[in-house]
Every structure is written in structure tokens, then in C-alpha cells.
């Protein structure tokens, strides 16, 4: 027995020996650890960030064999070899098919639908305008991305970060620019976690003390019949208007109908608990695993790194921040318009909740409002624009998909 040779082979085959073959992977491991710290210690959106960070860690550990991004990178759905993935892929490759086939975002939307109460929005339909206004960031970021030289399909995927809606961002990006799924998903979820830091300074800068102290009248209760008819009506209307958005809106409203119908309590309970939790695990880990530091380019990119660590990733992170900021500006701006039009009956702070990060953006409106008037309860008022923002970002994604199909981006 050649003990020396065995030990040498053990070293050669170990990840330690290969750790610095591509320094980019080592850097990604450090980034994954930082994200784990933010999720666990600082509590930044831990439900998602923990899984994303750990997926990133697994995918960048050399020779782990769990994720092979080269099986997906730069390939459209029709070019992916499913047989190869099933035979040679790791567990994350197989789970990642749920992202590529857009199964997870739709199931997440079903869960969100089952957890969403449209009551505040139905009681005050005008709040939907704020949900539309807060999509401003989507289009501002789209224009800026074009200015920075991104192709329009990538620019559209970057823009949707401004919708502050993770599943929608993943849905659109996996269709238009799957190569950029990792950085876009991470930017979207990271900024959603940072909403309590991003939004308040903008809200304060754009409103006066008097506006921030505005007390709104209590919303009137809505009948159960209205709550049941609403998801059905929205599905018919939105899918007829933008068929591309049918998977998202359809699943979202199905989940909501489970909740509101009152006749499928078990399904509603499963959707808003077990189902969404399971899918969140799969989605977060596999999206994180797409962030591989080094991926060898092929074809035109032969010899180049087409992995996560690139200038375009940094630009995407920057543009994502701008998208969130512009969306907040759009919401608050229209909130101010509504304040003026209604003679001071609408607190402009609820406009920022039009970005669809539910319910975090609504909580920010509540917290900022309560800071200036402790007896002011804006939470339920802010939930209206907040859930309208979910519909708004889905419509924006549907529009971009539709344009992409016409202009040959897909």
C-alpha cells in the first residue's frame, strides 16, 4: 500500500487544493458568509436571504458537484438538455429546473395570494393609483440600464427589480435574461430586506411635516361577496389584457380565492403555510446557487468568466438600488398629488407602500407616520397600495414580456 500516494490523492481531490484555482469562487464564499451574517445576526429578510446565501456557499465550494451552471448558462429553455441534467446534474441542478420552468415563482405567488387581504384596497380603490405610480422605478431603471449599454432584454429584467417583487423579478428574468438571474434575484431580495433603510430618507425628503402628520379616515369594511368576486374579476381582466402574465396573476388570485371563498380551508391553510415554505426553500437555495463566481465562457465568450463576479453584476446592484428609490419617489409623489386633490385626506406616506414588498413597505409607512404623529395608524391604509403594487408589478412584467416577444428578446 502506498500511503503517501493515497494521501497525495486525497489532497489533490480535495476542495482545499482547488479553492484558489478560480479566486472568484473564494470571493463568493466570503460574500455568502457576509449574507449569512446579515440574515442570521442582523435579521435582513432571513426567510429568503438565509437560503440564498447558503445556496451561494454550496455552489462555490469547489468540487461539491451540487450545481453545474454550465448546463444552463447562455442556453434558452429549448437548448437545455434535461436528460443531461437528470443524469449528470447535482441536486441543485434538478431543483433549479423549478426556477427555469417558472414553477416556483408562480407557486410563491399562490402562497402570497392566500396570505393577502385585499380588504383595505377594496375599501379604498383609489389607493390602486399609488400601486401603479410606484412602478416608476421599473421604467427609470430600464432607461438607465440602456444608457449603461445593457441589451434591452437585460435592461427589462434589471428594471423589474424596481417592482420590489422577488417572484416577478425571477419570472421575468428567467424568460428574458436567464444568465443574469443570480445577480437580479439577489439584488431584488437584498433591497427588499433593506426597504426600512432605503425608503424613510426619501419619504422624509419629499413630504412636509404637515403632510406626514395627516390622519386618514378609517376604511370601511368590505363584504365577503366582494372579496370573493374580486380575484375572479381581476384574473379575467388582467389575463385578457396581458396574457403573458397569466401564470403569475392566475396563481396569485387562485391563492386569494382559496382564502376568501371559505370553502377550502385546508387548501388555504396549506397554500399559505406548508406550500409557500417548501417552495421558498427550493427557490432561495437554487437562486443563491446560480451565483457562481467563475463559469467558463463558451463560444464567443471562450476563455472569459461569465460568472457572478463581473462589472455587469456591480451595475445591476447599483441600478437595483436606483430602481427601488425611483419607485418610492413615484409612490410618494402621487401620494402628494392625492393629498392635494382630496384636500389633505390622504397621507402621502402611504404612497411609498406602492412598491410591492408586502407587508414590509406598508410597515415602513406606518413607522414613519407614527414617528411624526404617534396616534396615527397608517398600516391598514398602506396595505391598499401595497397589494395594488403586487398587481402593478405583475402588469409591468407582463408588458415587458409582451414587448420582448414582439421585439425578439425571448
Amino acid at each position: 500500500m502506498e500511503i503517501g500516494k493515497i494521501i497525495e490523492n486525497l489532497w489533490v481531490d480535495s476542495g482545499f487544493n482547488n479553492l484558489f484555482t478560480h479566486w472568484e469562487n473564494a470571493v463568493m464564499i466570503v460574500i455568502a458568509c457576509v449574507l449569512l451574517y446579515l440574515a442570521i445576526v442582523r435579521g435582513f429578510e432571513p426567510l429568503l436571504l438565509l437560503g440564498i446565501a447558503f445556496g451561494m456557499l454550496l455552489a462555490n465550494l469547489p468540487l461539491s458537484g451540487m450545481m453545474h451552471m454550465e448546463l444552463f448558462t447562455g442556453k434558452s429553455l429549448s437548448e437545455i438538455s434535461f436528460s443531461e441534467i437528470l443524469h449528470e446534474g447535482g441536486i441543485l441542478d434538478v431543483l433549479y429546473l423549478g426556477v427555469k420552468l417558472n414553477i416556483y415563482p408562480c407557486l410563491i405567488f399562490m402562497g402570497i395570494g392566500a396570505m393577502t387581504d385585499f380588504g383595505p384596497m377594496l375599501a379604498r380603490p383609489s389607493s390602486m393609483i399609488l400601486g401603479a405610480a410606484a412602478q416608476l422605478g421599473v421604467y427609470c431603471a430600464f432607461i438607465l440600464a440602456i444608457v449603461f449599454g445593457f441589451l434591452p432584454n437585460v435592461a427589462a429584467s434589471i428594471g423589474i427589480i424596481g417592482g420590489a417583487d422577488g417572484p416577478t423579478a425571477i419570472f421575468l428574468t428567467s424568460k428574458l435574461a436567464p444568465t443574469y438571474l443570480g445577480p437580479i434575484a439577489i439584488a431584488a431580495y437584498s433591497y427588499m430586506a433593506l426597504i426600512p433603510l432605503i425608503q424613510p430618507p426619501i419619504m422624509k425628503a419629499m413630504t412636509t411635516q404637515k403632510e406626514r402628520e395627516t390622519v386618514m379616515t378609517q376604511a370601511k369594511p368590505v363584504t365577503k361577496t366582494t372579496k370573493i368576486i374580486f380575484p375572479i374579476a381581476v384574473t379575467i381582466f388582467c389575463v385578457l389584457l396581458l396574457p403573458d402574465v397569466a401564470p403569475l396573476i392566475g396563481c396569485f388570485m387562485l391563492g386569494n380565492l382559496f382564502r376568501e371563498s371559505g370553502v377550502v380551508e385546508r387548501l388555504s391553510d396549506t397554500t399559505q403555510n406548508a406550500l409557500i415554505n417548501i417552495v421558498t426553500i427550493f427557490l432561495s437555495v437554487t437562486v443563491g446557487a446560480t451565483s457562481v463566481g467563475y463559469i467558463a465562457g463558451t463560444g464567443e465568450n471562450l476563455g472569459q468568466n461569465v460568472g457572478f463576479l463581473s462589472t455587469s453584476t456591480l451595475l445591476i446592484i447599483l441600478l437595483g438600488l436606483l430602481a427601488f428609490s425611483f419607485s418610492t419617489v413615484g409612490g410618494v409623489l402621487f401620494g402628494k398629488i392625492m393629498y392635494a386633490v382630496t384636500g389633505g385626506k390622504v397621507n402621502p406616506l402611504i404612497g411609498s407602500a406602492g412598491v410591492s414588498a408586502v407587508p414590509m413597505a406598508a410597515r415602513v409607512s406606518q413607522n414613519v407616520g407614527a414617528k411624526y404623529n404617534p396616534s396615527n395608524y397608517l398600516l391598514m391604509h398602506a396595505m391598499g397600495p401595497n397589494v395594488a403594487g403586487v398587481i402593478g408589478s405583475a402588469v409591468a412584467a407582463g408588458f415587458l414580456l409582451s414587448v420582448g416577444r414582439v421585439l425578439g428578446w425571448t
Binding site: L122, L136, I143, G149, P152, V215, T223, Y377, A396
Partner: protein
């Protein structure tokens, strides 16, 4: 690579697309407002209750009567309140906790519920 065939677009074109896209979102949500108003009209969507202007959810402010049963004649309901709640051998904190539990159990926002009395069953 997959996207080599995709044509870049100019900034004015991007601006125009954005303008149309933003308009589509607005039109879609405005149309949904109209849909909601139709549903409300057909299904009696918003309950015809007259509520006083307030920022405080009704149920939160409801336990205005002390547990001791003291009823001051000059008592003014809290803003947004749907009225008083009668508490029998239950203190304010327990009443608030019970209302929160009921709201959670019913999966209904607290401010959409109206509690008239809470009494300990012995």
C-alpha cells in the same frame, strides 16, 4: 450565446417604451378601480356603516370601559371607535389579548371586527 441576435435599442426608444409601459400599468389599475366599483355596486361591496374619522382601528380602541365597570357620564368614545365594549370580570389587558386571539383565529383584521361584550364563563 443566446442573446447575440438581440438588437440594442436607443435611449429615446427606451424612453418611449417606458412611457407606454407606465401608461399601461396606470390604465390597467384604473380599469381595475372601475371593476371594483362595479363589484361594489353589484354586491354591495362596502358595508353602509357610518364611521367616524380616525386613524385608530376601532377594535383597538374599543375597550374604553374599565374592567371595574366604571362608567363615567362624560365618557367620550375614542376616535374611530364603534362604541363601548362591556367587560365583565375581565381586565383591559385580557380583553385586548382575547380580541387579538379571536382576530387571528378568524384571520380577519382586528379593525373589521366589533366586540360588544366579553364575559368570563365559570
Amino acid at each position: 450565446m443566446l442573446f447575440l441576435a438581440i438588437e440594442p435599442i436607443s435611449v429615446p426608444e427606451a424612453f418611449l417604451l417606458s412611457l407606454v409601459g407606465f401608461a399601461v400599468v396606470f390604465i390597467a389599475l384604473m380599469a381595475l378601480i372601475a371593476v371594483i366599483k362595479c363589484i361594489n355596486a353589484l354586491a354591495g361591496g362596502v358595508k353602509k356603516e357610518t364611521l367616524a374619522p380616525a386613524g385608530v382601528p376601532a377594535a383597538v380602541s374599543a375597550p374604553a370601559v374599565p374592567a371595574s365597570g366604571g362608567t363615567g357620564s362624560a365618557k367620550v368614545p375614542a376616535p374611530g371607535s364603534l362604541g363601548d365594549i362591556d367587560l365583565y370580570t375581565v381586565d383591559d389587558q385580557t380583553a385586548a389579548m382575547l380580541m387579538a386571539i379571536v382576530a387571528d383565529d378568524l384571520k380577519a383584521p382586528l379593525n373589521t371586527l366589533r366586540f360588544t361584550s366579553i364575559k368570563e364563563v365559570k
